[in-house]
Amino acid sequence: MRIVVLVKPVPDPAAGAERLDSNLRLDRAAAPAVVNGNDEYALEAALKLTEAHGGEVTLLSMAPASAPETLRKALAMGAQRGVLVSDPALAGSCTLSTTRVLAAALRTLEFDLVLAGVDTSDGQAGVVAAGVAALLGLPYLSYAARIEPDPAAGRVRVRRISPTGYDLLEAPLPALVSCTQVLGEPRYPSLKGIMAARSKEIAVRSLADLGLDPAAVGGSVATTRVLGARPPAARGATRVVRGSPQESAREVVAFLAERRLI
């Protein structure tokens, strides 16, 4: 099985420093970049599938030139190689541009499955995976809680999370699956994985390499515009409760009861 996982470097949500710069674009210098959380779940699912069925995992990312540093961690988890589409013209891309670029890059790769996280922690649009599938004419299986490929029969079954439980979907390969955290916790990279990742290939592609016109994608033709961003309202003072579970529980109950919240 040849699996491509779409990954995006995002500002580390744990740093709590996401903000826009003066051009109302994401300020990438404000917080260290990490692999988008949901993409790590997709990668974990891909690694488990190749462990069970054989094959290789390729990472595909559209990101600034600094991305390889972030992609190394995903390579350390066990992906074989990375493809990074990076081009100055892509700054300020909207989701439509991103979708077109990733679709163009996927046309240059061979795969049975494409996996993607359901959304990213910075943009949270959650539409790129569906758009890529649409542009490439791939079956789109969303919100996967379980992925069961049958490479010999050339099909994949997916359990899709629905409001009432699960839907069972089946599609011919190749297909694109968007992945949820129900698929299972991403692994920690092993030390050998970290060492090996340092010499794995990350192929960098420009728009010209993909045959895309720089005037057709990127910030200049963005279909959406960010008008502004505000941090959420500050929370009140935090009170930390410490002590034994019994003591702590009593204190929390007293606190809530005092304010007539319970």
């Binding site: 350390a76 920690y188 970290i194 060492m195 340092r198 410490r242």
Partner: protein
């Protein structure tokens, strides 16, 4: 904090990456287990599996046998990061290295090929058995005997205070092969395997700290050990043991540094949260003075430990002095910093709800094992005075 250290000490990119990986693992997976490991006083097999699965136990072993071939500093960085969360867990790596060092230093290719792949993968554990009831600081007083009999040696005697002795699959044991030889030439080193007839555990000790790490008395009742299990030459045992300490004592120093850092982290966080006299106690100068001394001395111990690693790795002629100095300073620092951490937390620090009382109990062992602080001073002083000895005519 240690965040800026990669640039300050010029860790290689690889060392910085590995340290980051171990730190994340220690914070997310080991720290939450530390209190329970101490309370239950049971060896954390789950943490052993975790360290093995992440290749952390592979660090000290050669790549040819499935190891990572890491240098001493890299091994110490891993020990430090684990000890910051749980000292008992850091011993899993430290003792795997300690027990294997005689084989790394003096083992034959055949011996390494036979035992290293399983040790590097963490499928087997190894312990180091030098100390006896009557031979602690003075290993030359060892009484365990190894008598040659055909293709075997027959081992007879009792070892005491052997970390992981009861759970190890292999033990590197030091025994007297020639009672007539001079004091430092009468010992030899052997690999004793679990299951050999006559080899057993006498008792387990109940300890003040590192309670999840079993400390065993090992009994050798006419154990037949093949000559192929002798490490190095006959009579080379004392030298192997001393060279082992040159590389293992920096590991204990690193453990002490991690422990001090862990206690400092808890105390500093507490000082920003605990309100007295209407403000966080961290704004009180007396508390600030405690914290500042803790921070500065921890950094000093860390700097000396890393410098010792570099000196030992570079083959310094006074490697023993560096190793002893690092353990001396770092062990005393860990004891003082953990004690002061309890002081910063006041009465709460004395309760088991906070980790600092455990860290204070754990710190004491770093002043005792792999040579007491008094022995470290002896090693440093001898090396120092040798340099200033007037030439004899």
């Amino acid at each position: 904090m240690t965040a800026s250290l990669a640039s300050a000490y010029r860790l290689t990119e690889e060392q910085a990456l590995l340290r980051e990986a171990v730190r994340t693992l220690a914070e997310e997976r080991i720290a939450p287990r530390a209190a329970e490991i101490d309370r239950s006083a049971e060896f954390p097999w789950d943490i052993k599996e975790l360290l093995a699965g992440q290749d952390i136990l592979a660090l000290p072993f050669p790549p040819a046998y499935g190891g990572l071939g890491a240098d001493l500093l890299t091994v110490c960085l891993a020990i430090e990061e684990i000890a910051r969360a749980c000292v008992t867990s850091s011993l899993i790596l430290a003792v795997q290295e300690l027990g294997a060092l005689p084989l790394l230093l003096a083992g034959s290719e055949a011996q390494q090929a036979r035992w290293f792949p399983d040790l590097a993968a963490g499928r087997t554990l190894i312990a180091f058995a030098l100390t006896e009831a009557g031979a602690g600081s003075d290993p030359a007083a060892t009484r365990t005997r190894a008598t040659r009999d055909g293709d075997d040696y027959v081992l007879e005697g009792t070892k005491r205070f052997i970390t992981h002795g009861s759970i190890a699959d292999l033990v590197t044991v030091f025994a007297v092969t020639d009672p007539e030889a001079p004091r430092h030439r009468n010992l030899s080193c052997f690999v004793v395997e679990k299951g050999m007839t006559g080899f057993g555990v006498g008792r387990l000790e109940h300890k003040m700290g590192i309670r999840g790490s079993p400390t065993a008395e090992l009994v050798f009742d006419r154990v037949r050990v093949p000559v192929a299990n002798r490490v190095g030459a006959e009579g080379e045992g004392f030298s192997i043991a001393m060279r082992t300490f040159e590389r293992s004592r920096p590991g204990i120093a690193a453990q002490a540094v991690g422990l001090a850092q862990g206690a400092l982290d808890v105390a500093a966080r507490y000082a920003t949260e605990r309100l007295q006299f209407g403000r966080p106690i961290g704004e009180l100068q007396m508390v600030q003075a405690l914290l500042a001394d803790m921070d500065a001395s921890t950094e000093a111990a860390r700097a000396l430990t890393y410098a010792a690693c570099a000196a030992v790795e570079a083959g310094a002629t006074d490697a023993g002095r560096w190793a002893a100095a690092a353990k001396l300073v770092a062990g005393d620092t860990a004891m003082r910093v953990t004690t002061d951490a309890v002081q910063v937390l006041g009465g709460y620090g004395y309760l088991e709800e906070f980790p600092v009382e455990r860290m204070m109990r754990d710190a004491k062992i770093t002043q005792l094992y792999e040579g007491t602080q008094q022995i470290q001073r002896l090693v440093v002083a001898r090396s120092l005075l040798r340099r200033f000895q007037p030439a004899r005519s």
